[in-house]
């Protein structure tokens, strides 16, 4: 460990490289953390499922890189389209007129969700090889970059829909309860999703092929993969768009109002139920886009989500709720710290470092608060 540290200090270029990689990593963490902060701040839910959304988004990206366009896609896509309609119906003002009671859209959404899940199950085992064969026959239909970008563009709305569906069926009952309940409930959803992905999609570790280059500087000592830079830019872009959305749009303002005082928001005519559904779906979309990036930069695996959840949690509690800039800074900082730790302590201890750091951050935060004792705990 000490040798590695000395090695770094003697090689400022290597150090710079590690820091750069860490920053680009951290951008993705910051994005996921922002989504978590959103759900936490607005709905008082700590979303343990966050990591699974990321992985799910990554899988969508992976499949899109694998498939291009294929007729077999119609099976799940049709189910998803129906699902969009169901969720969309729930989210539009029409539902109050069309549906006499609030139960039917719930049932419809649940039904479609189960149907598409069944569809995935039934076709899952034979889906991938069949699709691969089809792509081989038809050929790749888009240049590599376009596929990568397409992955992102599709992932986002797909995840939005998944998140909205989950809200309709489960989370609506959790909002307003205590945080511990939300931890348990979202934990339940996460293990559900983990095995679902493992069985319906694939148990393998998968990468989404982006086909982009790597720039190298300083004679190969500093490398910047284009995809990582794109990820950084995307993350910042999405962050800015989100900030604008929250500040300028009616929906965003409704979300902020509901976060501050749900009762007052309801009195003002805001449909808080819809706001919550939209917020949760938005978070899923954010995670999805982050996940697409993750699949392109690193890899995704069905059971690999928890680390992302806890990283996001760490960033949020370090930055504090409602502190967007803090989340970005903390996210970037975590990326750098983790990358450095991976080098100094060795890769096998990188995850241990992340979780150990979380514990330390929590204790540090507690000590700091207790010294200040400005607030009643």
């Amino acid at each position: 460990m000490v040798e590695n540290l000395i090695l770094l200090l003697e090689n400022p270029v290597a150090l710079l490289d590690l820091i750069l990689q860490g920053l680009m990593m951290g951008a993705v963490f910051a994005l996921i953390a922002y989504g978590m902060a959103l759900v936490w701040g607005v709905m008082n839910i700590i979303n343990i499922t966050q990591g699974e959304f990321v992985i799910l988004g990554g899988f969508v990206a992976f499949y899109f890189s694998e498939w291009g366009i294929s007729p077999l896609l119609a099976v799940p896509m049709a189910a998803l389209i129906l699902y969009v309609i169901a969720t969309g119906l729930y989210l539009t003002p029409i539902h109050g007129l069309v549906f006499a009671n609030r139960l039917r859209p719930w049932l419809l959404a649940a039904g479609v969700f189960v149907a598409s899940a069944a569809g995935f199950f039934v076709s899952g085992a034979s889906l991938v090889p069949a699709v691969k064969e089809s792509v081989a026959n038809w050929g790749s239909l888009a240049p590599a970059v376009a596929i990568g970008v397409d992955s992102l563009l599709v992932t986002i709305p797909v995840m939005f829909v998944v998140g909205g569906g989950l809200y309709t069926t489960v989370l609506r009952h959790i909002v307003g309860r205590d945080l511990f309940t939300s931890i348990l409930a979202t934990f339940g959803i996460s293990i559900f999703l983990q095995q679902f992905m493992n069985e319906a999609l694939t148990a393998d570790v998968e990468i989404a092929n982006h086909g982009l280059d790597t720039w190298s500087f300083v004679g190969g000592d500093i490398t910047i993969e284009q995809i990582r830079l794109i990820a950084l830019i995307f993350a910042l872009l999405i962050g800015v768009l989100l900030a604008l959305y929250m500040r300028k749009s009616r929906a965003g303002q409704a979300i902020r109002a509901t976060a501050q005082n749900p009762r007052a928001a309801r009195i003002m005519g805001i449909d808080t139920d819809r706001v919550y559904a939209r917020t949760y779906a938005l978070n899923a979309a954010i995670c999805g886009s982050a996940g697409a990036l993750v699949a392109m930069i690193w890899a995704v695996q069905a059971y690999g989500g928890l680390v992302y959840t806890l990283r996001a949690f760490m960033v949020v509690i370090f930055a504090g709720l409602g502190n967007l800039v803090g989340v970005i800074v903390a996210g970037l900082g975590l990326g750098v710290a983790e990358n450095l730790a991976g080098f100094i302590l060795g890769l096998e201890f990188q995850i241990a470092f992340v979780f150990g750091l979380l514990v330390v951050v929590l204790i540090y935060r507690r000590i700091r608060l207790s010294f200040a004792r400005k607030v009643l705990s």
Binding site: F371, A372, R373, K374, L376
Partner: protein
Amino acid sequence: MSVMLEVTSVSKNFGGVVANRDISIRIEQGEIVGLIGPNGSGKTTLFNSIVGYHPVDAGSITFEGREITRLRVPKIARLGLLRTFQQTRIFGKMTCMENMAVSLPNRQEGLMAAFSRLSTAAIDRAEELLEFVGLHSKRHLRGGDLSFGQQKLLEFAMALMNEPRMLLLDEPTAGINPTLINGLIDRLQRANQQLGITLLVIEHNMRVIMNLAERIYCLAHGQLLAEGEPSAIQNDQRVIDAYLGAS
């Protein structure tokens, strides 16, 4: 008479807000002293500072001659300085008797004391105090099932059970049915006279505090505005102005 509580030039800020500025008060043993002032004048903050809920930015606080400025809540409570809460806090899922039982004083508690069972003497005392506040018939009900006023009485009984030397009461009559306030005043006075407990009481109800307190401090805008006997305070123009918002 000895000095029970001495607060010297205590100040406390919260971010940019000055909650208490340079406040000095002194309470003698056995007194009943009132603390009044319009909303936001810093009364509860002063209480919180005294009992160690948060650190003070400046000044010192001594209790029975002992410096307590840097001590925390549990330690100060064990020294015999208790407080009740404005929003009335009791242990909701435990019965009244259990609330009383857990309020037993634990001054010198060795490790083995944690495993002790409740003595008959303690049970008798608990029932006695519940009788004193009029909750004896409700003693096996859960604390959370009591009405707000009953919870206030329970909190008071719990405080007495803890055998404090001094009690800081934060608006003890707030939210109480006016017809029952006299009973509460009576009990406060009896606690003071029979049990020898020194009282410092925050109150908004002028009738109550003027009848109960021997001396009154008035805060406004975080500072000490006036001090004196009830009749003097009642007629102090500065106090009247503070309440009516003239200053």
